[in-house]
């Protein structure tokens, strides 16, 4: 085991140690430490990705002196390293673009607590990506839930308190269902590590004993994780939470944290249960229907919003619907499309929230559309960035969103029958609805206002912010043009994932 093999473990430990260390730091030092941690995690994850591209198989890293199934372990493969690199890149860009405005939302003495939450959220995301044990998944999902709750409520006004309460109640439902599912699965198999658990599940399916409880377990865990990632019927907490939180928190929450829960679900499906059992138990039609409904109803609700942040929050619900559509198609190609959409969603959604904040900032802090006329001229970088991100959401070629919709359509066509028709109709309808509200927004920020409204003079946009936003634009365009290598990594990674 060379040093590079240890890098994922170092990343996790670095984030947790940084979180503990930040509790005694002053605000400036805390922010600097968060930047350093995010940058280091990005570099180490990229090196891990390079290592896993040279290896054939995924390798386990034993946490302690005892191998599975007696001790805990994490497992590092291509797919995990790619997701870790993608998420930490998005986090670094969001921090560079959004950390400078936190003084408007967070009081100065609580800034170090805010940075603790960001560090520990990153640690939890990394553990969820790499882990190979079901109970570790539960514990670190709880850490992520508490961290996201605190990320929202650090802005102290009535709206965030109510939104956080609703958020916590729904997430506590999800955690309860998840824990009951894990307890039952332990009861019928006796293992907690994922690889022995898979053998026990195969045994159960073959002998047919305890098959009923296995179905209920799959249903419980799927329902728990679906509530936590804002799938369609359970999305009630999402619009308020994303709209009223500080923009950096919304970017991290909707871009990284909500998608990490879906990655755990994919890991559970592929590694613990096996995709064939999932399809035979008819779980995928349910996910398909919820995904399609989420796409359409999320977009319809977004059209009727007058507040720009709520509009973007509802479009976030629609984008999560795309991921569940990909999962619901039920083939490997569908899962690959879903994973690629996770990366694109992380990149685009975070930059949408941050550029929206910049536009709102130069419009006298008003969030309604009629005050945002001409904001694209008052803040040129933010306007361009918002336009390109909106183009990706709609699915215009040369952006990442286009490749996502193309892959979803291809995987839907490959099945045939009414699934094919439904996928194509849903994609077309949702693209149309997306364009209604996104292109409308882009047009209105570039419209000359009817009468010159008097806005207070905003603070100047820092060059770092502009550079970070442009970097994310380059990332979106790269995902649109050069997506072939990434798709190939996802495909080969998914083969060794289970």
């Amino acid at each position: 085991m060379t040093l590079v093999h240890n890098f994922p473990f170092f990343c996790i430990l670095l984030c947790m140690a940084a979180g503990i260390f930040t509790s005694v730091l002053k605000p400036k030092a805390a922010k600097a430490l968060t930047f350093v941690v995010a940058g280091t995690v990005l570099v180490l994850s990229a090196l891990t990705l390079r290592l896993t591209l040279q290896l054939e198989e995924a390798y386990p890293f034993i946490m302690g002196h005892f191998p599975a199934p007696w001790g805990n372990e994490i497992r590092i493969g291509r797919l995990e390293a790619l997701m870790a690199t993608g998420f930490s890149a998005v986090l670094l860009i969001s921090l560079l673009a959004g950390m400078w405005h936190t003084s408007n939302f967070v009081s100065e003495q609580k800034t170090n607590l805010y940075c603790i939450m960001i560090d520990l959220a990153l640690a939890a995301v990394l553990v969820l990506i790499y882990t190979n044990d079901l109970f570790t998944v539960y514990v670190f999902i709880e850490i992520m839930t508490i961290a996201s709750c605190a990320l929202v409520v650090v802005r102290q006004n009535g709206h965030t308190l109510v939104a956080t309460t609703r958020y916590m109640i729904m997430h506590l439902f999800g955690s309860g269902l998840l824990l009951l599912g894990i307890a039952m699965l332990y009861g019928i198999t006796g293992h907690l590590l994922m690889v022995p658990l898979h053998e026990a599940v195969v045994n159960i399916v073959q002998t047919g004993e305890h098959m009923g409880p296995l179905t209920v377990v799959i249903a419980l865990i799927t329902a728990g994780l679906a509530i936590k990632s804002a799938m369609f019927p359970f999305h009630g907490w999402a619009p308020d939470t994303y709209a009223f939180a500080p923009p950096l928190s919304s970017a991290i929450l909707s871009g990284i944290i909500s998608t990490a829960y879906i990655f755990v679900l994919i890991k559970f499906f592929c590694r613990v249960i096996g995709l064939d059992v999932i399809i035979s138990q008819q779980i995928t039609p349910f996910l398909f229907v919820c995904g399609v409904s989420g796409m359409i109803i999320g977009s319809i609700m977004a059209i009727s919003q007058r507040d720009i942040r709520r509009m973007i929050a509802y479009s976030s619900v629609a984008q999560i619907g795309y991921i569940y559509l990909g999962l619901g198609i039920g083939t490997k190609a569908g899962v690959e499309a879903a994973l690629f959409q996770m990366l694109v969603h992380a990149a685009v959604k975070s930059v949408l929230f941050l550029s929206t904040y910049e536009l709102v900032n130069v419009s006298g802090d008003h969030k309604h559309f009629r005050y945002l006329h001409g904001a694209g001229y008052r803040n040129v970088p933010a306007g361009i960035v918002f336009t390109i991100a909106a183009m990706s959401m709609v699915g215009i070629p040369f952006t990442g969103g286009f490749i996502v919709k193309l892959n979803l359509a291809i995987s839907g066509i490959a099945i045939g029958g009414w699934v094919r028709a439904l996928v194509l109709i849903a994609l077309a309808l949702s693209t149309l609805l997306n364009s209604v509200y996104f292109l409308h927004t882009v047009v209105s920020i570039y419209r000359r206002p009817a009468q010159e409204l008097d806005y207070p003079k905003p603070e100047k946009t820092l060059p770092v912010v502009a550079v970070a936003l442009f970097t994310s634009v380059l990332l979106i365009i790269y995902l649109g043009i050069g997506s072939e290598p990434i798709l190939r990594v996802i495909e080969t990674g998914l083969k060794t994932f289970s």
């Binding site: 514990v139 409520v153 009535g158 308190l161 309460t165 439902f173 307890a183 332990y186 709209a243 009223f244």
Partner: protein, 124 residues
């Protein structure tokens, strides 16, 4: 089926309590009652988990007199899982109670629907 449920009595009671706690968390409008429902729900899951470790006729997993045969002790794994779960539940209860205190100080009511209505009137 009643005979099977009676044999697994602990798990039956745990599941009924889970449903009751779930319904309380869903239905009650008072915030303190919701938190109590959350605690009932979590405790029910720990009862379920702990009941899976017991094997009749064996003792608690503390090694006495150097006896280390498997037939002498019950399964120690669920006990460890319940330990972790209890700490997580306490943390969540603390956070929910702190949120309730802040909401009460601001809106002077514990009814979640009234609070939502009052908050809607404020400007963002």
């Amino acid at each position: 089926m009643w005979q099977l449920l009676y044999e697994n009595l602990e798990q039956t009671v745990a599941v009924i309590l889970f449903g009751i706690g779930f319904s309380i968390l869903l239905l009650q409008r008072n915030l303190i009652r919701k938190i109590i429902g959350l605690n009932i729900m979590d405790t029910a899951v720990y009862l379920f988990l702990a009941s899976m470790g017991y094997i009749s006729g064996r003792k608690a997993p503390i090694v006495v007199d150097g006896v280390t045969q498997t037939t002498a002790y019950i399964n120690p794994i669920p006990a460890g899982l319940v330990l972790t779960g209890i700490v997580v539940s306490v943390s969540f209860t603390g956070i929910m109670l702190a949120l309730t205190i802040r909401l009460y100080r601001r809106y002077h009511t514990l009814d979640i629907d009234e609070i939502a209505m009052l908050a809607r009137g404020e400007d963002a």
